[in-house]
């Protein structure tokens, strides 16, 4: 399909290890977002890429979190030295520059043991 895809769908890691999560947005979508949803919580904004502008990193919870985006294509979210509180579903969404509707991927379920 032509929707937003994310990989891996599930990731189990040990505390202290680094993880990398990938998001492939819908082709042509200039804006890309990462959110986190912990168990029983709402969607927590992490980072936002819009075209060639500097990303809005205001939601990243600590310097262990970083994200990159190559042009208007794939994005990777990296969590270094994972902690148990990083366990969550990490959701990626994209949208066009003019429209306001976001399209979400299925998420990556991260479990840090």
């Amino acid at each position: 399909g032509a929707g937003v895809s994310q990989s891996p769908s599930n990731k189990v890691t040990e505390k202290g290890k680094d993880v990398e999560l990938r998001c492939d947005p819908i082709s042509g979508h200039t804006a890309l977002y990462w959110y986190r949803q912990r168990l029983g919580q709402g969607l927590e904004f992490l980072i936002y890429f819009q075209g060639n502008s500097a990303p809005d990193k205001s939601g990243l919870p600590s310097d262990r979190f970083s994200a990159e985006r190559t042009g208007e294509s794939v994005s990777t979210l990296t969590i270094q030295r994972t902690q148990q509180e990083d366990s969550a579903v990490y959701l990626c969404a994209s949208r066009t520059g003019q429209a306001e509707t976001q399209y979400f991927g299925p998420g990556t379920r991260l479990l840090v043991l």
Binding site: Y33, Q41, G42, L43, F45, F104, G107
Partner: protein, 111 residues
């Protein structure tokens, strides 16, 4: 500081009746409002939106009402159906800025 608040974590409604989900926001600069629906193990899907220049938008069984003076919006679902059982997220944005989500309300449609 929560800019978008959904104060009811859950709501139960009889099938066939009206479901009303509420949302409050604090930032008067927000000019676009959205509702998303989320099933377990899936990403949220867009449901309906409203611009700040309107006070009502309707799409089939779903209607969103916006009260700018009260900084309040609501989603009405009528009649409620079993497939409407899901978590509903309210979201707000200003122009091309990031979209801020509420914590969600879990809707249970009772048979």
């Amino acid at each position: 500081d929560q800019q978008v608040k959904q104060n009811s974590p859950s709501l139960s409604v009889q099938e066939g009746r009206i479901s009303i989900l509420n949302c409050d926001y604090t930032n008067s600069m927000f000019d676009y409002f959205l509702w998303y629906k989320k099933y377990p193990a899936e990403g949220p899907t867009f449901l309906i939106s409203i611009s700040s220049i309107k006070d009502k938008n309707e799409d089939g069984r779903f209607t969103v009402f916006l009260n700018k003076s009260a900084k309040h919006l609501s989603l009405h679902i009528v009649p409620s159906q079993p497939g409407d059982s899901a978590v509903y997220f309210c979201a707000s944005s200003f122009r091309d800025d990031k979209i801020i989500f509420g914590k969600g309300t879990r809707l249970h449609i009772l048979p």
